[in-house]
Each structure stands twice: as structure tokens, then as C-alpha cells.
Subunit: 331 residues, 4 copies
């Protein structure tokens, strides 16, 4: 059933549940009841699954549906920190500190009768404006809302522009050990990474730091450019199908990603160069531990063939991924 | 009883409890029982006080006493994220989101029969080394521990050097609204700011974001240089006496500080310039709202007489304070 | 003779010399005589060309051939600031402040009887080490040299790895108005941008700031990963053929690039987010002035479809390019 | 004639001209003729002096007198990069790469019949606004000019505020080896550091990188706050008296400063934390080489008693100084 690369993925090679017949769960709005705005160990689980299981998740858009039309004012309708609602936490049986949770995204489809996405300019938010942290005395940029129709193929942006539907999950996390981190911030637990590669056909690996791992998911994007420069993607409500597995005793420090073509280390930090440093170091560590590389060879080789993805440079921490093509991993 | 400037401080002018006869509480180790490693709304209060009350707090050192001798290895004895133990949370009656808690530090004395402090070099921590965020492939610096005797006057650093006892509180916080942030990180809730001015004779103002404010305090330093460059100060166990008051309906975004000589805005962020931007903007806002300044006049005047304190540039976020002498605030 | 997109490029649409029959010049080592280590207005021109002319440039590798074998020590053979030798300055007739020089790279071939490239680890240089600026007390990483054979198709990296030949120019500049900037640093004059897209089939636009523009070129890379993480690419001696044109009265602030598929704004700064901000703002300005976009529409659209290239995050300033596909530029 | 500390300064202990009877030169406007806007090896010397000589320098204000009244518009009167005019270059006999030039500032007095200073808000310049590098889409802050009378005691800022006259030199440099760097940018050659401690009673040490050192001086400030937050100090025309000496074979990487009370390392970089890292590392190196410290002891001690001065965080590079009191240097 799985295509070739997945058979050889870390998830399928080392996942506790790789050989199980997966049970499929549906995390509906009714089951979720209360969405979460922080990722941490203090919230009540919505379900417990076994490694290898599949979950169909009904996600809300990042504004939780509050922005409905192009005349809406984000500053009047959005209330910090109650943004970017997350589904979960989903408990994974047997997950303990020192393990890794693998999340394979199988499918993402728009949800609801009137599938649409929202992109907006929020005051003091975005890469090309003063913000809460890059504090300036300038007036804010104008508020602005764009509401666009979409389907499983396209986003109907404007008369002039149609964008391809390139869905991905903006915020994917397991719980930190003791912190509870707002859903806007990425860090070594995952969080609001906004990496466009984390879509259907990708496996994300997240370091477990608390019992049961406590998986959170949300912030579906119908598409997003590198860096999410204005601060928002095409934010939409999705039905997202994931397969979740557990790898025991795999010590990783930061999220990693794998797809048909490449493996990726993911760093989140400010300034942006630190996100890049983390990403490349995590990638080197992976190449050394699993693919027979000497550390310095990996460092010099990546200087020739490493690829970088800027996730976002608008969130409280910025996210960068560093990749190497699987072509270079064969021995 | 209070010296002149305190009578005119925001705390005494606007504090709900300024005219009350304060009750003195003692937050002993027995009452505290469990120390906290995150600042958030999810922990059980250790006591409730009324605005204007005094609390004598028995703080532990940042390593919770785990480092005892100069042959100890920090990497073997310290376990992230269980560092920098905090007393609290202390609930302040009547405190609500939109208010401000004022913490006047009256006194800090060394605690215990054998008063001493610990300074150490921790691998991948400090300003002049690669770290978890500024990720490098370099070997770590050597681990090192310095254990020094101290009393209420001096720190006996070495045969060559005696340092003055200049105590202050490294970590002072109220709870974020929904996040729970590890005790190593400063942000707009206060946290691990490491500002040496936050010692006896200072009043720190913290923006309330949750019911009861939830005051946390810890990380006493017998002295500290600007920036805490090696990553640690003279960390010691203290008995710290604070007077806590509540100012209703004072909207501030970041911590502020006041002492006999100056007022200060405090920013915590990376990169460091953003901490400075936040600090100066917060100070300008204070000058405009309370001291009759035009925004641009304040901006230009601070360019001539503003003073900056680098708290730390070693924590997950860096802290900077921006000050103006009270001489310039008189009309 | 030119393929379709070039006919429609800014260079061919607005270049003063677009319709001229180009003269071909050859900038040999003999003509160049002295290579340059700074980009500025103080050096003697090596030749003067007319807009539209072609120049075949014999470039030296970034180490000027000093590193010859894998047992060489870069720290013994390289002397700062005499690194990254540049050909030029080439004067372009009629170029004045306020104009733009267009550099179309036609071809890059390895030079010499023994075509090879050098990659090395230089102490205190690279993204994953302390450096002169990110000053640490750690020991340096080991020095290391990799010398690899190459031809116009491949780079023979190791028994395990063959890399595709993806040549580009690391350092391309016109002179600043009064500064003379070392060849290791990129800025708004171009300089050491290390953007892999600036290879055959690309047109780079550089803002003229001094009479004659004073074009410098050097630092050929046989291939390079995003960010040039270890500090060096496959540095080689090339014969590079460029066609140079002049666009009068085109006010741009930072370098721009155009190829068959996309247009790009290029920013160079620290921290890295500032390079990204510059790049995206320059791109927005281009979209607004030449492609009929409203500023806010461009900002929001790029948040969905902008692509980012990390040039380097190892030089004294870091370089990032922000692109949009030409598909989105059609009206 | 000299006060005690100067006798023991590096300048007087090791300066080639310490025992000479100094000749006094006067660098008038007539002798200077042409002021310089870059610091480099390509300009014609205005005078040659012997180590130990005194020079009285007539400096122009940073706007070269172009801003005359409070109704002037900086954006109309100032032309980048022709800002911050510098006197010099002054050649120091015998100075060679690897030496150090010492500049003792003896006196700074206002110049002219109508002593005054100018402070202004310049579009896209300052710490609390988007800039050329921190590129935003926000509208610029309002332009604004403040012209203030001053004398050798006070600056008459406004009816409400009189500031003390605390003069210092904003821009002090020797030439880089091959670069020529605009007068707005600080770096390891000195440049536009804007460190308020570099005033009368201070000795600044600058690493010589070209024959004769080529000393430049300008940008007198009648006073300045930490960070120069709005982008400008009280900029004025001064008569500044300096004594210049030469220390042979003293290898320093970045500028250093000494006064009666402290020694300081000075770093200039972005992000700001890197300026701090450089400053502290340079200070540690000084403590180790000249004051008998072990490197790790120095690092840990500075964590307790180091003091930081933020020079500016508005220039193309930011400047920070790290100090230790001379009390701690005695053995």
C-alpha cells in the first residue's frame, strides 16, 4: 500500500506500530470540544491511540473562524493569546521522554460547505513592519483581510491570480517537558514552524519530552510562501489525516522531517541565523548517526548541496529547515 | 518610615495597599515545599496576601544546592529544565488582568550557617561559547565551579579579589495568561531578567495577566556584572524581604522598575537590539503617560541622557533596561 | 539567437546596448595583471566597454591558487584581507549614478589543464563555529582542505559522492560611491553574495553609484549549497562569459536578479532576518513599479508564493534572495 | 603635569613618544580643506606628526553645518553618504601594521561665536523605526530638528531641561588595511563608535593596519545617551585637543579604551550581542596578556563585575564596550 520511500523511512523501519493494522480515529469538533492555545503538559487528553494508528483531524483555521469577510478588522476580532487553535492533545501509548513521535501526513482536504481561506494583515505582525519585539514608534500598517475560495486543486486568489493548492500543517507539536508554550511560537518541541514541506507525503519526527508525548496539531495552510512574509498564509479549516508512530530510544534535540526526496533538520530561534545553525547542526547529527558520515565530511558536503527552507520569519521565533537530498545518503 | 522617594513612587501613590498596615508573611521552605521551574497559571498557590503586605522569602540558589564543591561537574549534577527554582506562586488579592503588581525589595540577606555563593561554567551556556541556539560544532568550554564565601558586605572571590555584596533578584515574575515559561527565560511577564538594579531599594512593576497575579521569585545573586557574561552570577540562598502592592488599571506591556534615582523600562528578546528597542519604547510610553512628555521630545531627549543596563545576554532571551534619571522627570 | 525570456527581460527591453552588435573582449590574466581585494572607486580600470558588449573573464579561485593540496593549512597560506581576488574594474561607457548595470552570465567553464576545485574549513570561519564577530572562547574547528576534480558536468567529490556542476559567480559588484569594501562582504553594491542562482542564464541588476559603474567579478563556484554552511563552496578558476548592458535612470536600492523563471530582490545584512526583509521589500518595490501590483497585494501574495534563497550565512554580512515566479507577473 | 593614572597608562608606559617634549599642531579648517566621508588608505594626509605630539583639531558637526534651524528638513539638506565629516588623515611617524595608536583626549570645547548643537530625527534612521536594513513598509517617523545653545558647562535643551556638557568624540579611527569605510560605520578600525566614554580624560587604543596609521577624527557630541536611541546626539562643532602616541608591536584586534577608572574592550557588529561578545573577549584578552589573569578566571570574574556601555544601536554596525574597574586589576 505504501509507496517505496515510506517503506524505507525511519518511521516504517523503526516505528513500534509499523507492522500493526492501524485503527482509524476521527477527532471531530465534538470530541475536541475545547481547542488549545498552548502546547504543554497541563491540558486534558482528547484521545489515546496506539503507535501506527491513523487519526482524521478536523482542524479550525488559525483565527478560529472569527474573520469572516474582507471588511472585518482583525484587531477587533482577534484576542491574543487566544489564536491558532490546536487539536489535541492526543496521547500515544508507550511514548516516554527520549522517544520520538513520527507524524506522517496522508491527506489534507478543505472542510465545510464553503471551502475558503483567510489571509490578513494584522497590526504589529509580519516581517515588514515593526512588531511587539522589533519595537518601533511607526504607525502600524493598514489592516486588511483577503477571503479566498479554494478547493482541493486551487486557491482563487484574485481575478489575476490562481494559486495551486499546496496544503501543509503550520503547527505540529508534542508537549515540552514542563513549559506550556503558546501556539504562535515554534521551538524544539515543534510548534508554529510554518514549514511548507510538512504537508501530505511528509513524515515529521518530534522529540518526546513527556509521558504519552501529547501530540497537538492545527494551523492548516492551503498554501504558503517561504517565510510567510505578511504574517499569514491561506489559513483554512481542514480535514487532515495523519498516521502516527513511535520510535523508541531515538535521541533527537529538534524536529526532523523526511519525505520522498530529502531529510531535513528544523531549527526555530531568533535571530534567523541561529535557526539556520540549529537546522544544519541537527541535519549533520542525523547524517553522522544514521548515514555513515564523518562530521566534517557532512559539514563540507552540505556546503555544496544543502538546501534551506525558510518556514517563517514572523513568529516569536523564526523557523528554518536544512535539507539534503536522499540521493546523497546512499552508500 | 519610608524614605522620601518611596512616598512619591507609583507604588505608594497608587497602590491599593499603600495605606494599610502591612501584615508580614514568611514563605519558608516548609511552606513552599515544592519549588517551581516554570512560571505559569497551572501551579498551586503557596499563599495569598493582601496588597501592601510584606513577605519574607527563603530562596534557594539557582542550582538548588546541587553544586557543593569546586570539583563538582555541573553537567552531572544539573538536569534541564529543572533549574532556577522559584518560590511562589503568591496570590495577590484583587489582582486582575490589566492591573500591575509592584514589588519593593526591602532587604536581602544570605541564608544558612555557611553563607556562600556558586559561580560556574556550564557546557553550551554563556555568552562566549556556542550554545543550544547559537549551535556550533566546537567542543564545549571546560566545566568549572567557583564556590565563594560571602557575608552581608563582601564576597570573598579569591585571594586577589574581594567583591562588594550587591544583592538582587535574578528572576521575578507574575504569571503569563496561558503560557507556562521555564524559569530560565525572561519575557514580558518578567522572568529571568538578571537586572542588577532589581535589588534592595527598587520597585519592580509587573503586568498582571491572570487572576491573583501569581507572583514568583527566586534566583538571588550576591552580585552580578552587566550581561552575566559567563552565564552565572554569584548564585546564593537568600532571605529576601519584599513588600507587594497592587495598582489597579495600569496598562503596561513590559516590566518597569523604579528606584530613588531613575525609572526604567525592561525588554527581553533576541536579538539583543530588540530587547533595547522594547526597553526604550516602554520607557518613552511611561514618560508620555505619566510625566508630561511629548513622544518625540522623549525620544530625542533619551538620545542625550538615556542610560542602559544590560541584564543578561546568556539566557534564552536577553534582557536590557533603559533608564532616565528622575532629575529629568520634574516639571 | 536569444531564447524567448531574454528578449523580454529588463536588460533587453531597456538596455542601451540591446540592439548593438556586441564586441567581445577578453579579460585575461595578462590584462588584469593585479587582482583586487576591495570593491571601490580607487582602483585603475582594466578596460572600458560599451553597453551590450560581451566580456570573457579569466577568474582566479577565491584562494588565488594558494591552496594546492589536501595537506595544506589554510591558516598558513591565506592572509586576510587578501582573499577572494576580483577581476575588474570594467568601466561601462555612459554609466552614471542612478543607472543600473545588467550582467547576463552566458557561460562558465573550468579553466586550466587540471580543472579542480577547493573547499576548506578555515579557522573562525563558517556558520557552525565561533568567528571574529560571533566571538567565543572555544577552540577553533580543525582546518581541513578538500581538493576535487571537476569538469563541465560533474564534481568528483569522493568515491561516494559526485555532484552536478552548477556554476555561478559568488562575487559580482559595481563600486560603491565612496566606500571601498573588501571582497568578502556583500552589501547593496552586490559583493560577495554567494547566490547560486547567479549563474549561466541569469541577469543580475546592480545599482550604479559611481561614474562608469566599475564592474568587478570573481569567486566562481562550481557548485554551492544554500547558505554555504562550512564557509566555502567548490572554489575554482573559471572562464566566465558575460554580456553587460546599461539601463539608464532605473532607481533600485539593492541588487536584483532575473532568469527564465523568476525575478528576485537580494538583501545583504546581519542579522539574517534583515537580509530577508530587504530582499522581500526590494521585490515588492519591483512588483509595484513594473508589474502593476498594489503594494499590499504584493505583500500578501508573496506570503503565499514567495520563494527564498539563502545565499550565505557565513560572510561579514549574510545574503538572502526573495523571488516570485514569472507566472504570477503576467497581467 | 599629568595626573597619576596617566603616568601608569599603557600610553605613557609604552608609548614611543611618552618622554618627548610634545609639539603642538593645529589642524584648522584651512589646513584640512577637504573633509572626508570614508576612513581608508586612499586619501591625502593633512599632516604628519611624531609620536607624543599634540594636535588641536577643529571639527565640524556631523551634518557639516547644513542643518541650521528647527524648520530645516534633514532629508532635503543631507546627502548620503556625505555625512559625518572627518578631519585627517594625520600620519604618525613610524606607525606600521601591528602597532597601536593611542589617542588621549585632553580637551573639547565648543567652536564658533554661536556655540550650539543639533539633534534631529532623520527618516529611516534611529533605533525605534524601520531603516534601510530593518526594512519595513511603514511610513517614516516625522522629521524633526532641535537646535540647542550650549557652552562648556551646559546644553540648554528646553525650558524644562538643561543637560550637562559631557563631550566626547563619536568617530575616531585609523585606516583599515585596504577597505575604505564610510564615516557612519564602526568596525575594528574604530569608526563611528559613539561611545560616550571616549571624551576628555580617556585614552583610546586603535590597531594600526596601514603605514602611518592614518588617524581620522570627527563627530563631536556635546552629550549622548547610551545607544543614541533617536540616531543623533547633540552634534556640534568642536575644538578638540588630543595627544597621540604610538605603541610598537602591540597586537590588538579591536579598539580598546582606558581612563582613570577602568579599561574597556570595544566591539562593533550586528546583531548587538555580537558587539558585546567581541567587547568582552577583547577585554579578557587584555586582562590575560597584561594583568596576570587566567582566561577562565577573567571570564568568571567579569560575570560578577563587568560593566557594559552601549555606544550606539543605530549605526550600520552597533557598538558596545565592556569594562572592568582598575580596582580589580591590581595584583
Amino acid at each position: 500500500m505504501y509507496i517505496e520511500w515510506i517503506k524505507n523511512s525511519v518511521m516504517m523501519q523503526r516505528g513500534v506500530g509499523a507492522d500493526r493494522d492501524p485503527v482509524t480515529h476521527h477527532l471531530t469538533e465534538e470530541i475536541q470540544k475545547k481547542f488549545h492555545y498552548t502546547i504543554g503538559p497541563y491540558s486534558d487528553p482528547v484521545m489515546t491511540i496506539k503507535p501506527g494508528d491513523r487519526v482524521i483531524v478536523d482542524t479550525r483555521d488559525a483565527f478560529e473562524g472569527a474573520i469572516k469577510s474582507e471588511t472585518d478588522k482583525p484587531s477587533e476580532l482577534l484576542t491574543l493569546p487566544y489564536l491558532n487553535p490546536q487539536n489535541g492533545p492526543i496521547m500515544i501509548e508507550g511514548a516516554e521522554k527520549g522517544d520520538v513521535v513520527a507524524v506522517y501526513i496522508e491527506k489534507m482536504v478543505p472542510r465545510g460547505d464553503d471551502p475558503h481561506g483567510i489571509c490578513c494583515l494584522i497590526p504589529q505582525f509580519g516581517a515588514l513592519t515593526g512588531t511587539e519585539y522589533t519595537a518601533t514608534l511607526n504607525d502600524s500598517l493598514p489592516e486588511m483581510v483577503k477571503r479566498v475560495r479554494l478547493d482541493g486543486e486551487h486557491i482563487y486568489w484574485s481575478k489575476r491570480h490562481t494559486l495551486p493548492y499546496r496544503p501543509h500543517i503550520g503547527t505540529l507539536s508534542v508537549s515540552p517537558e514542563i513549559d506550556s508554550i503558546n501556539a504562535l511560537t515554534p521551538d524544539n518541541h515543534g510548534g508554529n514552524m510554518d514549514v511548507p514541506d510538512i504537508g501530505p507525503g511528509s513524515i515529521t519526527y518530534l522529540p518526546v519530552r513527556s509521558p504519552g508525548a501529547r501530540l497537538f496539531i492545527g494551523d492548516a495552510h492551503a498554501c504558503q510562501g517561504d517565510g510567510e512574509v505578511c504574517g499569514t498564509a491561506v489559513e483554512y479549516a481542514s480535514t487532515t489525516t495523519i498516521k502516527v508512530d513511535l520510535i523508541k530510544n531515538w535521541k533527537i534535540d529538534w524536529p526532523r522531517m523526511e519525505n520522498a526526496h530529502a531529510i531535513m533538520g528544523i531549527g526555530s530561534a531568533r535571530p534567523l541565523e541561529d535557526a539556520g545553525r540549529i537546522a544544519y547542526r541537527e541535519l549533520i547529527r542525523w547524517m553522522v548517526s544514521d548515514f555513515g558520515f564523518d562530521q566534517w565530511d557532512a559539514y563540507m558536503l552540505l556546503s555544496q548541496c544543502g538546501k534551506v527552507r525558510l518556514g517563517n520569519f514572523v513568529d516569536p521565533k523564526y523557523t528554518m529547515g536544512a535539507m539534503i537530498s536522499k540521493d546523497y545518503l546512499q552508500e
